[in-house]
Amino acid sequence: MSNIFTDTFAWLADPQQWSGSSGIAVRLAEHLQYTALVMLIASAIAVPIGLYVGHTGRGRVAVVAVAGALRALPTLGLLTLFVLLAGIGLMPPVWALVILTVPPLLAGTYAGVSSVDRNVVDAARAMGMTELQVLFRAEVPNGLQVMSGGFRTGILQVIATVSVVAYINLGGLGRYLFDGLVLSDFPQMLGGSLLIAGLAIAVDLILALFQRLFLSPGASAKPDRSQPAAVDLTDPVTAEAVVQGGTS
């Protein structure tokens, strides 16, 4: 049992595993492609709705309900359903993942916009900003902190769950889990898991860096929060708690 770990590292260190059409490099690239595609589609759906609801406060209840329902849909079930209905291919799994990702993005965007101090919004309006200006010059820049929290939660979920999607016949790092599983090849599975976790962490660190670089230090100054985590990996609950807390 102890040699599982040494075997895993041997597997990871083997240059042969990294090259070729089913090598780690290709799998990694596939994994990122799926993730990017899913995030793109999910953002295109969730962000405008989140901005609208956050800005106007209209449809809040509906959005919370829909986001909750989407969250309850099992990705594996959707995946099977879509594949059975539409056949194999790239898009059915992608849609299943999009449905998984919309709730955190929606919740994050909505919570981000509505987390902005109402006085700031009021002042913006009183200064003569149009509604769009209020949204993009006051609400979005100040809500970005929370919004990117939702985005990071979403992207982490996608990266982790793309692996489940390999169950059908997509590539990505999840292949190592399934191939390893049917063959009882534990080093391969463990290696695949480590790669996925590593990818998630790396992506999150990069996003954190972006956040630090592009977010106004004024907007992120949270004097009341004792201290943010060194690696603020994911904040799946807070953004959603803001949304959910409002309903109960």
Binding site: A126, G128, M129, S216, G218
Partner: protein, 360 residues
């Protein structure tokens, strides 16, 4: 300049927040809306720049019906300052001040330059311009709020309890600063507060609102203190209105008497011999305290000081607070100019009252 005509605001299905308000706000003056919590002050103020739309009635600014103007443009023509400064946390102080000029299409560099000037106008150091709002104290934030409201040089300034979140000392400072600014700029300012003291200090005219959005009295502050229109106003104005009202009468006519003075350095046990209070002063003639008629050594702390140009209120307080019964008057350099007597101040007060009686 700003005219309310029979304006009523009713939020969804409730009692009126503002009830048939008709009033006319003077150009170039400070008009203060004051009243207890929930009486419709904010609502009235916000109807001026259409942050709230009236349920009925019309509001005109400089003769133009506000409801005919595009809301965003209307708002840019009026500065707005509120209790929580409402500064954009993600922008530097300079950029905050530059907001409205930027919305009006002023180039960035020019807007920043103007912002830097305004920083000086509101009495803030230039270095603060680069900070973020969260890095300023509450009082500084409010000054930035005022600067921002002034940036586009709007003729009208709407201020909703702008100073109520800062501590009393800073509030005093900000009030004086506002009065100083107003002397230079002569804007039409509508100022909301629930503090009657602030209202009487700042207002050229004061509108007292009663609960239910009714205008209870609208007059000069002096008149409101002297002659509250009804019990509601009287009780709102509070108990000390006799004293406070004195603040509206200059004490120029009060007589200053000479007083025995000793330089602190020259004092001996014998000084201020029995039966007479002597004022102890420093080398420049600034008052330090009193020397009691029975004790030449101890320094008795003095009362409040009366500065040349102060009001009857200060004059009387100076006399009443002095251990010798003699109020110390000082000149602009803080040097003793003489002493005043309570009885004489009172006589002056009575005279003022009788003059008022003669031309009511």
């Amino acid at each position: 300049m700003i005219v309310f005509e029979n304006v009523t605001k009713r939020y969804q299905g409730g009692q009126p927040a503002v009830d048939a308000l008709s009033m006319s706000i003077d150009k170039g003056a400070i008009t203060v809306f004051v009243g207890p919590s929930g009486c419709g002050k904010t609502t009235s103020l916000r109807m001026i720049n259409r942050m709230v739309e009236p349920s009925s009635g019309t509001i005109t600014v400089a003769g133009r019906n506000v409801s005919q103007e595009p809301a965003a443009r209307l708002r840019r023509s009026m500065g707005y300052v509120m209790q929580s400064s409402g500064l954009m946390p993600h922008r530097s102080v300079l950029d905050n001040i530059a907001t409205v000029p930027r919305l009006n299409g002023v180039p960035k560099a020019a807007a920043r330059k103007r912002a830097a000037e305004l920083l000086d106008v509101v009495g803030l150091a230039p270095v603060l311009g680069k900070r973020y709002p969260s890095q300023l104290s509450g009082g500084q934030q409010q000054r930035v709020g005022v600067a921002r409201a002034l940036a586009a040089d709007p003729p009208v300034l709407l201020m909703d309890e702008p100073f109520s979140a800062v501590d009393p000392v800073v509030r005093d400072e900000l009030q004086q600063e506002l009065l100083r600014l107003q002397r230079e700029l002569a804007k039409t300012i509508v100022f909301v507060t629930h503090d009657i003291d602030e209202a009487t200090v700042l207002g050229d005219k004061v509108a007292v609102f009663a609960v239910g959005g009714k205008l209870a009295q609208y007059a000069a502050p002096e008149e409101i203190l002297r002659a509250p229109a009804n019990d509601f106003v009287a009780s709102f104005v509070g108990r000390d209105r006799g004293f406070r009202h004195l603040a509206f009468n200059a004490a120029d006519a009060v007589r200053l008497h000479p007083v025995k003075m000793v330089q602190s350095a020259e004092r001996t046990v014998a000084d201020g011999g029995p039966g007479e209070w002597a004022l102890v002063v420093d080398a420049d003639g600034r008052p330090l305290g009193w020397s009691s008629p029975r004790d030449g050594t101890g320094l008795v702390p003095g009362g409040s000081l009366f500065h040349r140009g102060d009001t009857l209120r200060r004059a009387l307080d100076a006399a009443l607070s002095s251990p010798s019964g003699l109020g110390v008057a000082v000149d602009d350099d803080g040097r003793v100019a003489g002493v005043l007597k309570a009885a004489e101040v009172l006589a002056l007060i009575e005279e003022t009252r009788q003059n008022r009686e003669e031309r009511p």
